[in-house]
């Protein structure tokens, strides 16, 4: 690490070696991973060092991962992250003590493991919930180990250091809550009083989740969130703002139908119902999943369905026009009344005043002269002037 102090350099090297051994990663790959997370979080330059230290030093935090009404797409998406392979990180960066999909064991064995982990890490473990929670009929529509989702959530959340809802279903109910919502599916925040960080998306970008976890590791707290509980680093900008097709929107070039000329040319998908203008997510920049360059719905030619946005995704018909949310009338539109044309300048006023003054002065002098000559003439003639007023 280029430090002049041999002891510091030694200890850093030792840590690096430890991390290399622990993660089974080359040092180079490990640094890349830390930098990726720091970038996703929008941390300043050099922050990857702090991330690196946190990941290396901290005891792997215990994570309890619950599944309710969902498709496991979020987990699948996580598993497909490749920078580096996430299964390794799930096992090595964090201590995944309960995850129904990934557990080799089953039945009472895993339930016992969950209870043990919760007891051992009381107040320190992270609770991650994937899937909506059914509330109708006392939540009987989703049970694990004979406990309803509501009960499990409350039980696990009670001693958790932080609660993260991953995916749209856990965030607000998502797809299961689509009208008429037969199971009364809701998001985690409706069940517990604790603050819940939501990572909506269907599925969400794995880095948005990982970055949130690492932020917790690095800074000991969850990242700043918006009023829907979404981390601002990932959900503060509309898809529309950084969309690669934005120039076409601004120029009025729209695909009208799938497969038409404009669609093949990569024009804007707004007329096809793209919800980018009303959906907050970092898809255009972080892309979707970890499937390679340019792979996200809009990049592939399908309009955004607004999966990260409550009230849009799974609520609005896919091909209905979006409300454009990023209009800023004060900045980028002329007002109804604008100040136009050049008004009076000092120079112009001076010229006009000079002309008017000269005219007024001349008039005054001249009329006085005329008046005097009139008096003179009157005095000479002894009667009012008639025909020879002389100047």
């Amino acid at each position: 690490m280029g430090s002049a102090d041999p002891t510091v350099a030694d200890s850093t090297l030792a840590l690096d070696a430890m991390a290399e051994k622990r993660f089974g990663l080359s040092r180079r790959d490990f640094m890349q991973f830390c930098a990726t997370l720091a970038t996703t979080l929008g941390l300043p330059a050099g922050a990857h060092a702090a991330v690196q230290q946190a990941v290396e030093k901290a005891k792997r935090p215990s994570v309890i991962w619950l599944h309710f009404q969902e498709c496991t797409g979020c987990t699948e998406s996580m598993l497909r992250a490749e920078h580096p392979t996430l299964e390794r990180l799930i096992l090595d960066v964090i201590s995944l003590d309960y995850h129904e999909t990934l557990f080799a064991a089953a039945g009472h064995q895993v339930e016992a493991a969950r209870k043990a982990a919760m007891a051992a890490n009381k107040g320190k473990y992270l609770l991650v919930i994937e899937g909506a929670i059914p509330t109708r009929d006392n939540g009987i529509y989703c049970k694990v180990g004979n406990k309803t989702a509501i009960e499990l959530t409350r039980e696990c959340a009670a001693d958790a250091a932080a609660v993260i809802a991953i995916g749209s279903c856990a965030s607000w109910g998502g797809m299961p809550s689509t009208d008429p919502n037969p199971t009364g599916a809701v998001g985690v925040n409706k069940i517990i009083d604790k603050p819940v960080v939501t990572i909506p998306g269907c599925p969400p970008n794995p880095y948005n989740f990982l970055a949130t976890v690492v932020h917790f590791l690095t800074f000991g707290q969850l990242p700043p969130i918006d009023k829907l509980g979404r981390p601002l680093f990932a959900y503060s900008r509309l898809v529309h703002e950084n969309c690669e097709r934005r120039a076409h929107f601004d120029a009025g070039r729209f695909a009208i139908e799938f497969g038409d000329d404009g669609h093949r040319k990569g024009w804007c998908l707004y007329k096809l119902g793209c919800k980018g203008p009303e959906t907050y997510a970092n898809c255009p920049t972080a892309l979707f999943g970890d499937a390679g360059a340019g792979t996200w719905p809009v990049g592939c030619g399908h309009p955004c369905i607004g999966c990260t946005e409550q009230g849009v995704g799974f609520a609005k018909p896919i091909h209905t026009l979006a409300k454009v949310k990023n209009v800023e009338p004060p900045v980028s539109y002329p007002g109804i009344v604008e100040n136009q044309g050049k008004g009076v300048t000092v120079g112009a006023a001076a010229v006009l005043a000079a002309v008017a003054g000269a005219a007024a002065g001349a008039t005054a002098v001249f009329s006085r002269k005329l008046g005097k000559s009139n008096e003179q003439a009157s005095a000479e003639d002894g009667k009012p002037q008639d025909r020879t007023g002389r100047v």
Binding site: D250, P317, H319, L321, S332, Y333, P334
Partner: protein, 332 residues
């Protein structure tokens, strides 16, 4: 000395010469002009406008208009403040307070399209002394011919909507205004602004169809689901989409204003706030032309006055002799 007969002969020849010089058909007093049954126009629905300015861009592209620099210093480039010689179409924003709620008069914002309204009885056409500004008898499009124009800018002054604009930056400046993309009709196109509008906020079509559509929207309950047509309402494929009706102001702007316009406007914020002037039903053009033709119709009045003047002058003017002493002096 000339006889009375000679005088009248001369007066008549003179009058005929004047009448010939002034090309003045005997048009009489008139009321508002009537709209052509095939007139085309636009329906702008402020509540559907998302402010994407696709129409502004398309208008520039299709009319080959150059970069505009009528932009305030602190704004992005090419953000014209208003229509001008380089920009025929602008989306303006009304805003109040925090400007967060769309189509709300208080604390909200709303968009308004500013482009030619193609009046049924246009002031600019009436004002133009050289028929450079004309109204198409079939489509009703108010069109401009730069080759005829003398650049007097009477049309600019006369238009109550401030639409015709002159290019003051050029020694050969022209008047510039929307002509409803009449140059694109032969290729099967129509007004580019309506063609690209993603929401149908700007809708093209025959004015009769647009009026029906406007009425239909005004009759909708706020929030009621309905289909909004896009593009050309009087032809072409159905590109309508389903959305919710807004809380419309119960008025179609342009239906009666100065004899009606071929561009109609709907909004949820009062039209005064959106910069649309309050105008009487009687067209200014018809008032001006009635006045002119009452005074000068067939040159009757001027010729009568001229005849009388010539008669009196003939009596009072004596041809000059050696000195000009003969001019009769009325001495009281």
């Amino acid at each position: 000395m000339s006889t009375r007969r000679e005088f009248f002969k001369r007066a008549l020849t003179g009058s005929a010469a004047v009448a010939g010089a002034a090309v003045c058909p005997p048009v009489q007093a008139r009321s508002n002009a009537q709209i052509s049954p095939d007139a085309v126009g636009l329906l702008f629905d402020s509540t559907l406008c998302v402010g994407c300015k696709a129409c502004v861009a398309a208008c520039k592209r299709e009319n080959n208009l150059p970069l505009d620099y009528n932009t305030p210093d602190d704004s992005p480039w090419d953000l014209p403040l208003d229509t001008n010689a380089r920009t025929f179409n602008v989306i303006k924003a009304y805003k109040d307070g925090a400007a967060t709620v769309k189509d709300a008069e208080q604390g909200g914002y709303a968009f308004m399209k500013s482009s030619c309204l193609h009046c049924v009885d246009p002031s600019c056409v009436s004002a133009c002394p050289v028929t450079a500004m004309t109204k198409d008898p079939v489509t009703g499009i108010v069109q401009y011919d730069a080759d005829a124009c003398i650049g007097c800018r009477y049309c600019v002054a006369a238009c109550p909507f401030g639409i015709p604009k002159y290019d003051y930056s050029s020694p050969t400046g022209k008047i510039a205004k929307c002509e409803l993309c009449r140059h694109r009709v032969k290729d099967g196109h129509y007004a580019a602004c309506a063609e690209v509008c993603p929401t149908g906020a700007t809708l093209y079509g025959k004015v009769a169809d647009l009026k029906v559509e406007a009425k239909r929207r005004l009759a909708l309950k706020p929030g009621q689901a309905t289909r909004f047509p896009r593009g050309n309402i009087s032809g072409g494929p159905d590109r309508s989409w389903e959305g919710a009706a807004a809380r419309y102001i119960q008025r179609t702007y342009g239906e009666t204003e100065i004899g009606g316009t071929q561009m109609l406007k709907l909004a949820a914020v009062s039209f005064e706030k959106l910069g649309q002037p309050t105008l009487p039903d009687r067209s200014f053009a018809s008032q001006s032309e009635t006045l002119q033709h009452t005074l000068y119709g067939g040159l009757v009045l001027p010729l009568v006055v001229l005849g009388a003047m010539a008669y009196v002058a003939k009596r009072n003017v004596k041809p000059a002799g050696e000195h000009d002493e003969e001019v009769r002096d009325e001495r009281a």
